[in-house]
């Protein structure tokens, strides 16, 4: 059971880190950025390709991949969101445009094979790959019947530290106050002299960088990097997490992430292996029926 609790905390950390980015954008813009899962995947793919195909050190590759993810945040804003916002398009239009961008990113990575246009980005096509052993330290300890893997353990404090940092920034800094003002009422924020476009851009950069980091941690710790890890592993679960936690609430996303991780693992342990997804989404359904605003719904008005 101890091992399963570790499994739950580990995957919960990934869900939480991913969902925080999701919910941040929703909180500020009232828009679901469905390209978030593609950014998650892209960062993992960039890390892999920099290490394996371009001979860079693992740490540099991670740093560059997070920069690439943050830049994708800029692309999402300029390509998918800002033009639509200017034309006062309904939120559904932005939802569709982010889905479109996600498909393009996944397809670009998928096409990366030797001799193609995208071989600099990725060369393994649709294959799932892992970073070669020895690229990064991964000590394994055995403590009282528990197997502790270095990479999986590292995910937990990294995620928690980043989420605490984000919480601090949102609550106690000028930038955070600006973001919360935009979330509350963009027009009023603009009248107060806040550069709303800049705040939105910042939101997307922070959100995408966090999503990218989640992707790198996922790809490294699970040894699973492919064009589909975002779509298959976290896209729908990320949505579930932010509904569980309360749409737009950062603490809600964190708690929701750990909750979904725990529910999924408990389902495997207690009810048998083939009901995991079913139980997780049944819990989500229950939440929607009993408390539609989510765990932190009371703070919905305040949002961030």
């Amino acid at each position: 059971m101890g091992q399963q609790i570790l499994n739950a905390i580990f995957i919960g950390s990934i869900y939480a880190l991913f969902a925080v980015g999701y919910t941040l954008v929703f909180g500020v813009l009232d828009i679901l950025n469905l390209a978030h899962s593609a950014v998650f995947m892209l960062a993992a793919a960039v890390t892999y390709t920099l290490v394996v195909n371009h001979g860079q050190s693992f740490w540099l590759a991670c740093a560059l991949a997070i920069v690439a993810a943050a830049l994708m945040g800029v692309v999402i804003e300029y390509v998918c969101l800002r033009p639509l916002r200017r034309r006062r398009a309904p939120p559904i239009a932005a939802l569709i445009s982010t889905i479109g961008l996600a498909l393009i990113i996944v397809a670009a990575v998928e096409q990366g094979r030797p001799g193609t246009l995208f071989s600099w980005l990725w060369v393994d096509g649709a294959n799932s790959v892992s970073l070669p052993a020895g690229t990064y330290p991964n000590p394994i300890w055995n403590l009282g019947g528990l197997t502790l893997e270095g990479t999986k353990l590292a995910v937990i404090p990294i995620s928690i530290a980043l989420m605490l940092l984000l919480g601090y920034v949102m609550r106690f800094t000028q930038v955070g106050r600006g973001l919360r003002a935009v979330a509350e009422n963009p027009r009023a924020a603009r009248l107060m002299g806040i550069d709303v476009d800049r705040m939105i851009m910042l939101t997307l950069i922070i959100s995408s960088a966090l999503g990218g980091l989640a992707g790198i941690l996922f790809g490294v710790a699970l040894g699973d990097i492919s064009p589909y890890i975002g779509r298959d592993s976290v896209e729908v679960r990320g949505l579930a997490v932010i509904v569980l936690g309360g749409m737009g609430s950062v603490p809600g996303a964190v708690l929701g992430g750990y909750l979904l991780g725990a529910i999924e693992v408990l389902a495997v342990v207690l009810l048998g292996s083939n009901v995991r997804a079913g139980v997780a989404f049944a819990a989500l359904f229950l939440m929607l029926v009993l408390r539609p605003q989510g765990l932190f719904g009371a703070q919905l008005r305040e949002r961030l």
Binding site: I14, F118, G125, A126, L222, S273, R276
Partner: protein, 402 residues
């Protein structure tokens, strides 16, 4: 604006990158075949879950087509092979098949890569009376009962890939006599025909060799993290973990189980049999056994030629899927040669080809001497192989066709 342009270029690139190419062309004289074109259409999973296998099938096929066309074609007719990606999606696979049959008017089809898609494609080919040769599908009810649960044999569906119904029991038998395991746990992907079929075969077979199956653990292909399942399996301390799944999943399970300190034997099915999976599993996969239709170092004379040509063309070793793709084209070419095709009556030609396929008897292919059984299945030597820990395989046993 610059960003918009950048994305447009990116999108254009994606579309360009996605476009495949097809062979065709030249003529030779000699018979009524001279100057004609034999159109073949392959439906393969180049992207998606089956993208681990489809590209190798394609490369094997293209190599065979090039060799045949360069050496004068089929009685002077050239083979034109088109390869279409079904994105590992069942519905898309069926749409592609329909297009190839009705719009492209291909003489015969190859594929699809996944058993899951074959369930949609093969009955369609049977209904429209087009010969189709499966090159990698190993699930149950592929041949002859492609319309399962109807049991009427399908006349137009053939298979040159080794079915799991042969491969998995052969593998279990071989390990039972080498390692005498007494307990096992099965990890099976339940949402995929190939994987769940494999699981059923394991469940049906273990009893014969006195292996007690402690638990069957089912999961879904798209799970984010398989660790909870692996933890459950390892906690039971089995001698053997059976894995029936495809893509990168077997490798992920192996790595997770080894990290959790389990030292037993992995046994699996066709999902193990590609270098990609062996490479991904790395040291964790060392010794993992499966039965394969083909082995890189197999002693058949034509295999050495095939391996050499494949290496020259693609700069890497072929795998089982490459060998089966290559053999499939040789099989169709042999049938076409003897079918006395008219090149004017497509329906008649498809029927003649089908009849000629039943009597294919090739003494030399990379898979060994090749014939179809009366059920249109492949009759061939089975190779029990083990992952070598560095992306390849070593031979454990050779089981001759009975």
């Amino acid at each position: 604006m610059r960003l918009v342009r950048l994305v447009s270029v990116l999108a254009a690139g994606v579309i360009l990158g996605a476009c495949g190419s097809a062979g065709g062309g030249g003529t030779t004289s000699g018979s009524s075949y001279a100057g004609k074109t034999i159109k073949l259409g392959a439906i393969l999973s180049i992207t998606g879950a089956g993208g681990v296998y489809g590209p190798q099938s394609r490369d094997g096929m293209k190599l065979a087509v090039d060799q045949i066309n360069k050496s004068g074609g089929v009685n002077g007719a050239q083979i034109a092979l088109s390869v279409t990606d079904d994105a590992s999606d069942k519905a898309q696979s069926a749409q592609v098949a329909q297009t190839l049959i009705q719009q492209e008017q291909d003489l015969a089809l190859l594929g699809p890569t996944l058993s899951n898609s074959a369930v949609a494609v093969h009955p369609l080919a049977e209904t429209l009376k087009v010969p189709i040769l499966a090159v990698s599908t190993t699930g149950i009810h592929i041949v002859p009962d492609c319309n399962f649960p109807q049991t009427t044999p399908c006349r137009y569906v053939f298979r040159d890939s080794l079915g799991e119904q042969t491969a998995i029991p052969d593998n279990i038998q071989s390990y039972a006599s080498d390692g005498h395991p007494s307990t096992g746990v099965l990890l099976v992907a339940q949402d995929d025909k190939f994987s769940s079929d494999g699981g059923k075969i394991v469940q049906d077979t273990v009893g014969q060799y006195n292996i007690n199956l402690l638990k069957t653990i089912k999961f879904n292909k798209g799970e984010a993290d398989l660790s909870p399942y692996v933890t459950q399996a390892v906690a039971l301390k089995p001698d053997v973990i059976f894995i029936t799944s495809l893509g990168g999943i077997p490798a992920k399970i192996m790595v997770a189980a080894r990290n959790q300190g389990w030292h037993g034997q992995f046994l699996g099915g066709n999902g193990f049999n590609t270098a990609t999976v062996s490479k991904q599993a790395g040291d964790a996969g060392k010794g993992a056994r499966s039965a394969s239709a083909w082995y890189l170092g197999n002693s058949f004379p034509s295999n050495a030629d095939f391996v050499k040509a494949y290496q020259a063309a693609y700069g890497k070793d072929p795998d089982q899927f490459g060998a089966q793709g290559y053999t499939a084209i040789k099989v169709l070419a042999d049938a076409a040669k003897r079918a006395n095709l008219t090149f004017t009556d497509l329906a008649g030609d498809r029927d003649k080809l089908r009849a000629a396929m039943e009597t294919v008897n090739l003494p030399q292919t990379p898979l060994g001497p090749f014939q179809f059984t009366s059920n249109h299945d492949v009759k061939q030597t089975v190779w029990v192989i083990a992952m070598d820990g560095v992306g390849g395989f070593t031979l454990v046993h050779e089981i001759k066709a009975s």
